[in-house]
């Protein structure tokens, strides 16, 4: 079984799958995957696949970027609560101006490959 690491997480994204770690003791799902349960401290985990639909919990549109994002502003980034449990951060495509995307809006996952890395992004649904 793949280890519960960022390497495994990104390898799964490459296959178009969002995989988290599920605590075998209390059932809490962790995304990104982690080896020690946030909730109960247990260390027995199994992989679980998550659906890509969720709702925006917090959002911004960035105008002053990181150097790797230069030339791509403005772009939206959000904390998204997935329907089947945990939250995760990701770019949200198709949003140009602040206010077009609001808390509570529904989004759906997109797997974006750039160079040799696939990242989890979202699109307004």
């Amino acid at each position: 079984m793949a280890e519960f690491t960022s390497k495994s997480y990104f390898d799964f994204l490459e296959e178009g799958r969002i995989m988290g770690s599920k605590c075998m003791s209390c059932g809490t799902v962790h995304l990104p995957p982690r080896p020690i349960c946030h909730d109960c401290g247990a260390t027995e985990m199994e992989w679980t696949e998550l659906g890509g639909e969720g709702v925006v919990q917090a959002v911004t549109v960035i105008n002053v970027p990181l150097s790797k994002m230069e030339g791509r502003c403005p772009y939206a980034v959000a904390v998204v609560k997935l329907d089947d449990c945990p939250s995760i951060s990701g770019l949200v495509h198709g949003v140009k101006e602040g206010g077009e995307l609001s808390i509570g809006d529904r989004v759906v996952a997109e797997f974006v490959k750039e160079g040799d890395k696939t990242t989890l992004c979202f699109r307004s649904s």
Binding site: S67, Y75, I88, S89, I103
Partner: protein, 416 residues
């Protein structure tokens, strides 16, 4: 999970304090070691009955990233070296933007443990050697590099996202954030150590003249293109500047402090807590749990309540951070921090004065120096030496220093 508080088994006193002015140009010709020495010499000179540097038994230095900013690590030993106090133990503390606030706690515990009677604690950052994009990249290192920065978040972006969540849940708004910025610039204009020493209207007039624009009031200027959006809803005047500077305190055990001064300021309580680095791992995006826990610890040790605090320096790296801090520290109920600021309750003459020195917003934020500079301010306030931004009748002061987007928070409570 509950935090675990610290017991202080000896009294801890601040006997001297010094800081450089925080600025983006003034220190262009100086390195971190020189800024630290400058602040340390001012701290030495501030000790009422005289103080010699070799009396320092140990040194603690908060520093965020001289690694990235200057290509120099090992800042504590370097500072000890240039202060001429080798072979005294010198320890660097790095907890992102809370580095020197945490260093204050470590130094306090070093005295409380009985290991030392007199320690020097401070912080330093020299940030202006890098280009803006490089500074943005370096600041983002305080967030989760893989899962937040990797997802596209900048550091201002994380606080903008927190603001969006607070607006949605509690009905707060950007005008309330603007009130915080206006207040902090007003206070900064009264502080000779501040990076920005002008009221927002003064800046509006100056920038307006250059751009052929006039503004009726602060809000009209703050809504204009001259105050560009950095990360929606945060604009330039919601963000602290990038500054160089250093701040240094001299701490002594209560039983030796009176040898140095008749008016020491006592650290009555300390607290510190952690939280997940990534915002997406938190249950509630409208509160900083580490701040609540660190404050509860410090209040308990100091035997005070939030309502007893007269003056507080809180970590307003962004205006929304001050709003959150004033709620999480218990000054105002959750959801009412913005309204309180708008109604002047945190002003110099308010119920609890917040950031009388201008805060990070106007005073500046040389990251590693910030926690120590907060202690400098409260030391001055409690001794009635703050000058034009002195608050009346100060009995208890508080400092709140936050690392990253709330993954580390240190709190100190001070009294006379």
């Amino acid at each position: 999970m509950r935090g675990v508080g610290v017991r202080l088994s000896r009294e801890i006193a601040i006997i001297g304090a010094g800081m450089t002015r925080f600025h983006h140009k003034l220190h262009a010709d100086k390195t971190s070691r020189e800024l630290f020495v400058k602040a340390a010499l001012e701290a030495r000179g501030s000790v009422d009955n005289g103080f010699e540097l070799p009396e320092v038994e140990a040194l603690f230095v908060g520093n965020f990233s001289s690694d990235a900013f200057e290509g120099q690590i090992h800042m504590a030993a370097l500072a000890a070296d240039w202060l001429g106090i080798c072979p005294r133990a010198a320890t660097r503390v790095e907890d992102a933007c809370a580095s020197s606030g945490v260093a204050m706690n470590v130094a306090s515990m070093a005295i409380a443990s009985g290991a030392y009677d007199i320690v020097m604690v401070g912080g330093v950052e020299k940030m202006r050697g890098l280009r803006t994009e490089e500074v943005t990249d370096t600041l983002a290192m305080a967030a989760d590099a893989v899962y937040e920065v990797g997802a596209g978040f900048t550091f201002p972006g994380l606080f903008a996202a927190l603001a969006s969540a607070h607006f949605a849940k509690h009905g707060s708004n950007w005008e309330q954030l603007a009130a915080i910025s206006i207040k902090n610039h007003h206070n900064g204009a009264l502080n000779p150590k501040a990076h920005f020493q002008s009221e927002i209207m003064e800046t509006a007039r100056k920038l307006g003249e250059r751009n052929d624009m006039t503004f009726e009031d602060e809000l009209e200027f703050l809504r204009s293109p001259l105050n560009p959006v950095i990360a929606h809803p945060l604009r330039l005047f919601d963000c602290c500047p990038v500054s160089d500077g250093a701040a240094v305190l001299i701490l002594a055990a209560g039983d030796v402090a009176r040898k140095f001064t008749d008016t020491p300021v006592y650290i009555r309580g300390i607290g510190q807590a952690s939280d997940t680095l990534a915002l997406h791992d938190r249950v509630d995006l409208t509160t900083m749990n580490a701040a609540k826990i660190a404050a509860a610890q410090a209040y308990e040790i100091a035997w005070v309540k939030a309502k007893d605090i007269d003056v507080a320096d809180v970590h307003d790296c962004f205006t929304i951070a001050e709003l959150l801090a004033t709620e999480d520290l218990g000054f105002f109920p959750k959801g009412e921090g913005g309204l309180a600021a708008e109604n002047g309750r945190t002003a110099l003459d308010g119920d609890v004065t917040v950031n009388p020195d201008g805060g990070l917003k106007a005073k500046g934020h040389p990251i590693g120096a910030t926690g120590a500079a907060m202690a400098y301010e409260i030391f001055k306030q409690l001794r009635g030496e703050a000058g034009r931004h002195q608050v009346d009748d100060v009995e208890y002061g508080l400092t709140h220093n936050m690392g990253g987007s709330g993954a580390t928070v240190s709190v100190q409570v001070y009294g006379r």
